[in-house]
Amino acid sequence: MSFDCSDYKQYKRLHLSGEVDLHNSPDVRRCLLDILNRKKSVIVDFSDLTYIDSSGMATLVEGLNIANKMNLTLTIVGAKDAPLQVLQLTRLNQVFHIVESLEDIEE
């Protein structure tokens, strides 16, 4: 798994690649909380993500809760295949704001 953080419009884009699991989700959590602490809305880019386990999902849920409290947004973009199925299985697809591509992100 690798991830990188970049600017996209007024957001911070957290781009996840490969597999997020118990071993690396704490790194993703640190990065996500750091972005939110700097009062930035965040786009979590799933387009190169092949797998995410429940520790990864829990990290995103925690991030969404913090974002909501700070009047920020957390948007998932490009979810497909297994990660999308995990979102559907846990019904988190009804909790997160999910869009297909970066072009669908509003200014």
């Binding site: 118990l22 989700s25 704490p26 829990a58 199925q85 299985l89």
Partner: protein
């Protein structure tokens, strides 16, 4: 099926309780993402096979390869690590009576990971939601019904998103609606997590619904293994009787019978 596809491979496995042999020369393999149902009557060796595959019992002969590694030959530390990739849901749920449902489910994460407590709490709640147990997090196991205990046990079994889930009698003692929901959950776990699942069950309807393949055991021997269609079309009398729920008829040896009845007199 090649070795590279098999997540678990059982070769020439025999197992015994002391002098009493209960499994004889079992060969089977389970692919990544496959649901294998193990069926057979009481005493056929289903649970013993499960215990062997989990490394809870050492076979008297043969090998059990998990991801290519023989679990009978690894040391305790390696076995403990391999077990982190395995989830087990026992018949009665096997929750610790002194801990709340939520704490029971969090236990493996607290024992085996360094995850933040907030992450652990959300993970446990996600699994409780999945099992329709969201309102029962703070209750004690003694306050749950049999079906709830079973679902809580399943929540704990999958809390670490294991590669392989062993499920002993998921439908036993459940009402039909809960049983159907549990079957669907097993299918969903495989679909979303690509989880490999081995289910031991007596329930034909459930087996036919969830299985990619069914293995039938009889008196410790593997009678046949194959797709649902294969099992339904199987002409072996033992399989036909199992499917048609006909009682076993053991031919009687009159001399031995009399000898047993009059033993010591």
């Amino acid at each position: 099926m090649s070795d590279s596809q098999a997540l678990i491979k059982v070769n020439n496995l025999s197992s015994a309780y002391g002098e009493r042999k209960v499994l004889f020369d079992i060969d089977l393999e389970v692919k990544q993402g496959e649901i294998l149902v193990v069926m057979g009557g009481s005493g056929s060796g289903k649970s013993t096979l499960l215990r062997n595959m989990l490394g809870l019992m050492m076979p008297s002969q043969g090998e059990i390869l998990f991801n290519g590694k023989d679990i009978c030959k690894v040391n305790q530390a390696e076995l403990a690590k391999l077990r982190q990739s395995m989830g087990v849901a026992f018949q009665g749920g096997a929750l610790l009576s002194s801990l709340s449902v939520g704490d029971n489910i969090k236990l493996p994460l607290r024992q085996h990971t360094d995850l933040d407590e907030k992450t652990i709490s959300i993970m446990a709640r996600l699994k409780l939601e999945l099992m329709n147990l969201a309102e029962y997090e703070d209750l004690m196991p003694s306050e749950l019904s049999g079906g709830m205990l079973k679902r809580a046990g399943l929540a704990r079994a999958v809390i670490m998103d294991p590669k392989i889930l062993f499920f002993d009698e998921p439908s036993a003692g459940l009402d039909p609606v809960t049983s159907v929901e549990l079957d669907q959950l097993i299918l969903d776990l495989r679909e979303a997590m690509n989880m490999t699942i081995i289910v031991v069950t007596h329930e034909l309807e459930s087996a036919f619904k969830i299985a990619d393949r069914i293995a039938v055991l009889f008196d410790g021997k593997l009678v046949t293994i194959g797709s649902v269609e294969h099992i339904k079309a199987c002409s072996d009398e033992r399989v036909v009787n199992l499917i048609n729920r006909k009682p076993r008829i053991n031919p009687l040896d009159a001399d031995k019978y009399l000898s047993r009845l009059t033993k010591g007199s």
